[in-house]
């Protein structure tokens, strides 16, 4: 993927990332040479306008709907605009654009449908409790999905066209379900999931999304989702334009 590709889209869900969004958009455009879509999830700090000035296409939610919903908006945009692959990148500068290229490669080559960038295979540090929780989640998800995954809550991912089409019609919108439950959904749909090491930086701006109690609650909720998934009704498939 050395030459710029016009049929690949970078999807950047963004909520109040005015400090970092411009530099991320520029870096992705410079290093990957692909189109960038910023899904402004109800920002009140002008993130959308800054992103547009930096050269991104922008879709704006009228109010905050969460990362999962923002991603699905991105998937719908990608499908409607005819892109053949997409990569999800954080707008806060945590994800390294050169790693995005490595995530996209298997998808572009047709060897995978969903590539998950893993922080841990490249030495990313998190707090002890959070690390234990993430490990436990990863073990549970790996068992369900049948693929060894070390970083199931990673939001650094690449998607093939078939994956985009499925996710455009149904995608979990609850907080963090967009990462964990999406893997279960992809696996149930027979999509080929692989993991790839990805470079991640500590945050350049913004604040971490949740405190300790909230994290514990979300962890519990995700475990409930994973445990009940085999007998749960599939997410409803919705019609799209």
């Amino acid at each position: 993927m050395d030459s710029p590709r016009s049929d690949v889209l970078a999807i950047l869900p963004a909520l109040n990332e005015s400090d970092t969004v411009a530099s991320v958009v520029e870096a992705v455009r410079r290093e990957l040479g692909i189109d960038v879509l910023v899904v402004d999830d109800g920002s009140i700090d002008g993130t959308g306008d800054i992103a547009r000035t930096a050269g991104a296409k922008v879709v704006r939610h009228p109010f905050n709907l969460g990362v999962g919903a923002a991603l699905r908006t991105g998937f719908r945009f990608a499908v409607a605009s005819g892109y053949s692959a997409a990569v999800q990148i954080d707008a806060d500068g945590q994800h390294d654009p050169s790693s995005a290229q490595r995530l996209l490669q298997p998808v572009v080559d047709g060897n995978a449908d969903l590539v998950v960038g893993s922080r841990f295979s490249s030495g990313y540090e998190v707090s002890f409790l959070r690390g234990r929780g993430m490990k436990m989640l990863s073990r549970m998800v790996s068992r369900r999905v049948g693929v060894e995954l070390s970083d199931t809550t990673s939001g650094f991912r690449a998607f093939s066209r078939p994956t985009l089409e499925i996710f455009a019609r149904r995608y979990p919108s609850q907080y963090l379900s967009d990462t964990v439950e999406a893997l279960l959904l992809a696996s149930a749909e027979g999509l080929r999931i692989i993991e790839s090491p990805a470079q991640m930086h500590t945050r350049k701006g913004g604040s971490p999304s949740a405190g300790a109690w909230k994290s514990a609650y979300h962890m519990l909720r995700l475990m409930l989702v994973i445990v009940i998934s085999p007998i749960r009704r599939p997410l409803p498939t919705e019609s799209i334009r």
Partner: protein
């Protein structure tokens, strides 16, 4: 004894109803977790009559079940307050959505610049 069996059965039925609603995706995981903890709480109370009696005596209530009633009133109050907060948020979102749509239609009808979502 019979009473606690009935209570246990009620708590179990409650848990089954919650899990079934979750299974059918009529209930999101977040709310399900809330109701499951209420159900488990009810189950524990059904098993733990001596605990209730001890607890109520220690805070000066002579008839144990009164404490259970008081406790469940507080829990139900918190949950319904939570629900009205959610409804309030949904109301303001619907209002905003309708306004955005109305403005979008108006501004793209009169031949002005396409607004590209920035209304």
């Amino acid at each position: 004894m019979k009473v606690s069996l009935v209570l246990i059965a009620m708590a179990l039925v409650m848990l089954v109803v919650i899990l079934e609603a979750l299974r059918r995706r009529r209930l999101s995981e977040g709310f399900a977790l809330l109701w499951i903890s209420v159900g488990v709480g009810a189950l524990i109370l059904a098993f733990a009559r001596p605990l209730i009696d001890w607890l109520s005596r220690s805070i000066g209530i002579s008839y144990g079940p009164t404490l259970v009633f008081a406790g469940s009133t507080v829990v139900l109050f918190i949950i319904s307050l939570n629900l009205t907060i959610h409804i309030t948020r949904l109301e303001s979102r619907v209002e905003k959505l309708a306004q955005e749509l109305a403005l979008h239609e108006a501004l793209s009808d009169d031949g002005s610049e396409p607004t590209d979502g920035e209304v």
